[in-house]
Amino acid sequence: MWVCTQGQWYIRQMCAGVLGLEASQLRVTPSEIGGGFGGKTTIFMEPLALALSRKAGGRPVKLVMSRSEVLRATGPTASASMDVTLGMKSDGTLTAARAEFRMQGGAFPGAPVDMALFCCFAPYHIPAIHHLGYDVLANRPKCAAYRAPGSPMGAFAVESLIDEMARELGLDPLAVRRTNAVREGMKASYGPTFARIGLEEVLDAVSAHPNLQVPLGPNQGRGIATGYWFNHGGETSVSMAIGEDGTVQVSVGTPDIGGSRASIGLMVAETLGIPYEDVRVNVVETGALGVNEPTHGSRATFASGKAAVVATGQAIREMCRRAAAAWDIDPEAVTWRDGAAHPAGENAGRFEPMTIAEIGASMGKTGGPISGHHEATPDGVGASFGTHVVDVEVDPETGRTTVLRYLVVQDAGRAIHPSYVEGQYQGGAAQGIGWALNEEYVYGEDGRLQNPIFLDYRVPVASDLPMIDTVIVEVPNPGHPYGVRGVGETGITPPLPAIANAIHAATGKRIRHLPITPAKIIKAISG
């Protein structure tokens, strides 16, 4: 089966389960993917294609969902309502917090109320916290994963309230976040103890950014909010192999939805000391590797990258052994650098470096193919915090909000491929801006979705957005050989409250329901 998915093994497992197949009977090849956003971590009509093919005597069957079918049938994120209580001293110190969240994701459990609660207070050191969540079942369309499931809604509630309290106390909203920011060694709001994290560095970078100095005009307002995502390890299996010409291929099981192939290729090339162009990273089908979880939880560059670096280390050790055999010295007397085996020192003997190309060319005669493989459920996951600052202008007559400038500051750990990291930051912000201002599922009296088309499901178009400014903060994750944290999801967590806070600053009105449409703003202003 060829399918556009974030996780070919999930597709295999679910289709096999639905159709009563053995997993080994089905090979699933992920096609090149445009975007993932979470929705492609499950099956929709895929088993039907297999069943039809089986009925047709094994002939090929192609099924395509129309855009309208995707919007009606694949599940949005959960709907949510939240109550938050915060204790804050007059100096901005948070003393206690309570959250009661209700999330509705259709007829079956699975709305991400747990993750929403875990994330909502995560940026802050609060001595006393109480979480209460309800996974509400209703006769509504099922929900699916949606970029940082739950976290944006939790942030909308908590970050809006922090903003409200800070303003009432006459405190700078950014300073309040700095006062309460978590750092290494602190117990997270949901239990674990934070390793090295970069929230303070993020807030410092926000303070220093020129966008905060831009004076605002009439009907304009500035909003700020912080967001959090755990990031994820997950089941991972990766292989790499040295080619006969010394180029390298890496086989990963995590579909590339935002630059993971390039990032993994850079890390393997760096580890080997060879040009990036000599490394090719392939996303492979289910027959080619052990089980991999999907690309979800912002894990691909972290988990597949970490496994690829370990696998590359195995190949390097083997290449050092081949050189040692050729030189007739001890393998421990060989080191690897700049894409070649070198004698470790004067005592090891005087030999010309043996390059990866030379080792690859002769490997058939020196012991056979050279490869590396690693499988794990990696630990060392590094969480990522982000803070966004947005300036808006609200037309007081029509309620229309224009985003004037938008700043994303986020801790990437180490940004392996900075422009892809920026792309994730900007994409998260754009997606969040749409959610905050215009995107919604409109149901009729008959319970049918009224707007299953991009004409009326109003995602932002390019001209709706300013260039999204980004600052990549790098506080390396000690749990990854190159310091990677994962950057895909944190970026959608601050925009909802950041925009709500900016609209409050511009209009004096606190809108507590999303999206913050022109009609809601007009109603608030006139009411």
């Binding site: 229309r400 009224q450 004409l455 009326d456 178009v461 022109p518 007009i522």
Partner: protein
Amino acid sequence: MRYHSPLTFEAASRVAAGASGVTRFLAGGTDVLVQLRAGSVTPDDLIDLKRIPGVGSITREGDGGWTIGAAVSGAALGATPGLVSDWPGVVEGMGLVGSTQVQGRATLAGNLCNGSPAADGVPGLVAAGATATVVGPEGRRRMAIADIPAGPGRTALQPGEVIAAIHLPARGAQGGDAYERFIPRTEMDIAVVGCAVNLRLDGDTIVEARVALGAVAPTVLLVEACAQAIVGTRLDEAALDALAGAARAAAKPISDKRGTAEFRTHVAGVLARRVAVTAYTRAKGSRAQGHRAKGAAQ
């Protein structure tokens, strides 16, 4: 499906009049082809108008008026400087339809015949007092554009009738028109409310005005009370308030996925004020610059 490509409007009308099933005229195709592809409309007879001579022409008439063929694209309107100068509101309305790609195909006549109450191309035509040449089994006739929309998806054209061309009157001295719509985004959206204003000045005083509202009723509305609110004024604050009030009073919108009735009614007043100011400024500019005012259309 039978595909026809007649060489005259009379022949096109004969095909349509003789057809018994679902019939569609094809010009730009930005509605018809999309419906066809989506399977929502499958015509038995598809009558392509684009081979009829003159159907793609924009002509300035001897009296200063304009004739726009049924298959003229929005992009072609915007690329005709004289038309942009005379009727910037008409051109900017059509220029808001769809994307750049759609602009290369979409036509004013098609926007009119699609019958959407929210059509961006239509209020400008109604405000301008435009007419259409309609060819049918009984011959040719002229209809006011304002009389053609009959409700969502419906027109007053009779079976076998087809629009051959749209006519704009001579602009004359000290006139100006404008169109604006409200959408929550910047483009690629359907008007929540649309408003066109066409007026003429004597000195600084408005002596003629036509105000059309879109997307606030089953068809585009030509609102006489709005015109009365500003005729005889210099568009001062009191006149603008009266105009906004008249627009809100005339608006009879529904609540749907694109906006609530309450919001649409409110915005109808806001837009009427803003568009009137633009039209007024253009009318004054045209006096000062002698018909060299630039349209904002794109």
